[in-house]
């Protein structure tokens, strides 16, 4: 198929950026979206133009490295990551607009690449269970109800891609945060730090400059892992309990 690509190009974080238009032919529907961009880059290199910079690593939908706003949808039209999006979701003659995640907390580094280190800092401020190596009790000494464990697992599948922030009109990272809070808060091992965790993470979230959640729901629709809004409610609930108990 033949496509018209409108891609945001920006040389560096400080340089001004803009949309450039490219025509690309020879795209097969078995290609992944990123392989389509690889093809474009191969053509650009042959022509002596600098290839478009974009992030990807595992290309199997699990590392969370890939991003891209595709025609106004984070990770494109399917519920999956950009690297798992395939060209059979598009048709010949389509125009595709590709932009980076837009958020001040995710500054553009180059072209379509943004800096998501704010997520690491949110995890640093409480997104863990303190268990020094070697201090762990026998694994089966603390049973965890199966449904709770599955619920925790579902929340733990967040890949930290940032699509929730990109899709949210407020640029809030509540879904990302709520996923971690739900994952750890659902397990018996996560109880001791449950309330200090939520307070710490929310404080860092706000400090970074992420927006406030108004429960609009664009995040969960964009989330490639289908993390539900429930986790934000859980976050709010834990936060409320934490405040009542003066954490």
């Amino acid at each position: 198929m033949n496509l018209t690509l409108k891609i945001w190009r920006q040389a560096s974080s400080s340089a001004p950026g803009g949309i450039h238009t490219y025509q690309l032919g020879g795209v097969s529907e078995d290609m992944s979206f990123l392989e389509m961009l690889d093809l474009l880059n191969e053509e650009l290199v042959t022509k002596g133009e600098e290839p478009v910079a974009f992030d990807s690593d595992c290309r199997e939908g699990i590392c969370g490295m890939c991003s891209l706003m595709i025609n106004g949808q984070a990770h494109g039209p399917e519920v999956t990551t950009t690297c798992q999006l395939h060209m059979r979701s598009f048709k010949d003659g389509d125009t595709i607009t590709i932009e980076p995640w837009r958020a001040s907390t995710f500054p553009v580094i180059k072209d379509l690449i943004v800096d998501r280190s704010a997520f690491d800092r949110i995890i640093q401020s409480g997104g863990y269970i303190s268990a020094n190596t070697g201090s762990a009790p026998e694994a089966n000494s603390v049973p965890a109800p199966r449904d709770k464990a599955m619920h925790a697992f579902n929340a733990a599948t967040c890949i930290g891609c940032g699509a929730c922030v990109a899709a949210c009109p407020n640029g809030s990272a509540s879904l990302f945060m709520g996923a971690k809070i739900t994952h750890l808060g659902d397990l018996p091992q996560g109880q001791p730090e449950r309330y200090s965790r939520v307070v710490g993470m929310v404080a860092q979230h706000d400090h970074e400059g992420f927006g406030g959640c108004t429960n609009i729901g664009e995040c969960t629709a964009a989330c490639p892992k289908g993390i539900p809004l429930d986790v934000i409610s859980q976050l709010n609930k834990d936060l409320r309990t934490a405040m009542v108990h003066g954490f």
Partner: protein, 214 residues
């Protein structure tokens, strides 16, 4: 935000119930209005309850608008460069119009207070005390004007929208929507509250306009 929002919801619920008294006639309605003023006497001074409500509402209003402005500012600062193309995939129209809808409500609120509470302007022109000091009469003479009813209905539409998302959102903000079934219920609650309140408020002016009440 959620707390102040819920204060509003409770208030408008009671307020709407009161308004419906209009269907019981002039006497009942004015009695209700009067009753509001002497409620709790002698424990409370005249207008005591009314003042308590007014203060609570005023504080809530400041908190509500304050948080709304703060949220808006944070959102703006977060996305200085807009998307060239942005699609909404899941959000309801009401959730995306909270800010404009809120502003509409705010403007309406000022007019509404001027109209019925503070200055008691009778838009029909007759400013005599017969009318301005008789809540029932003031209401009827206002809503006899088609454009007054229209303004009121537009405001109720805005209120319905605001409540549709607001109710659901407040439940979520309070941490009560932790499962898919709770979510379905919260969404229904949003619809019910929106329809009951906006619908309930709209009945009176419509009834006046169409002469059911006069």
């Amino acid at each position: 935000m959620a707390a102040s929002g819920i204060v509003f919801v409770l208030f408008v619920l009671v307020h709407m119930y009161g308004n419906l008294k209009a269907f019981s006639g002039e006497v009942a309605f004015n009695e209700y209005a009067h009753h509001l003023r002497i409620f709790g006497e002698p424990m409370l001074p005249e207008n005591g309850l009314l003042w308590i409500i007014r203060i609570v509402l005023l504080v809530s209003l400041v908190a509500h608008v304050g948080s709304a402005v703060a949220l808006m500012r944070r959102a703006r600062a977060q996305r200085p460069v807009k998307y060239q193309v942005k699609r909404n995939n899941a959000s309801s129209l009401s959730s995306r119009t909270m800010r404009w809808g809120g502003l509409t409500l705010f403007v309406f609120l000022i007019w509404h207070l001027l109209n019925f509470t503070i200055v008691k302007i009778n838009p029909a022109g007759d400013q005599s005390a017969d009318i301005t000091e008789n809540p029932y009469r003031l209401m009827v003479s206002s809503f006899d004007l088609w454009w007054m009813t229209l303004i009121y209905l537009v405001a109720m539409l805005a209120l319905g929208f605001h409540l549709h998302h607001g109710t659901y959102s407040a439940l979520q903000t309070l941490g009560w929507v932790n499962s898919a079934s709770a979510r379905a219920k919260a969404k229904i609650a949003g619809w019910v509250i929106a329809i009951v309140i906006a619908g309930g408020f709209s009945l009176v002016p419509l009834a006046v306009l169409f002469g059911v009440i006069d």
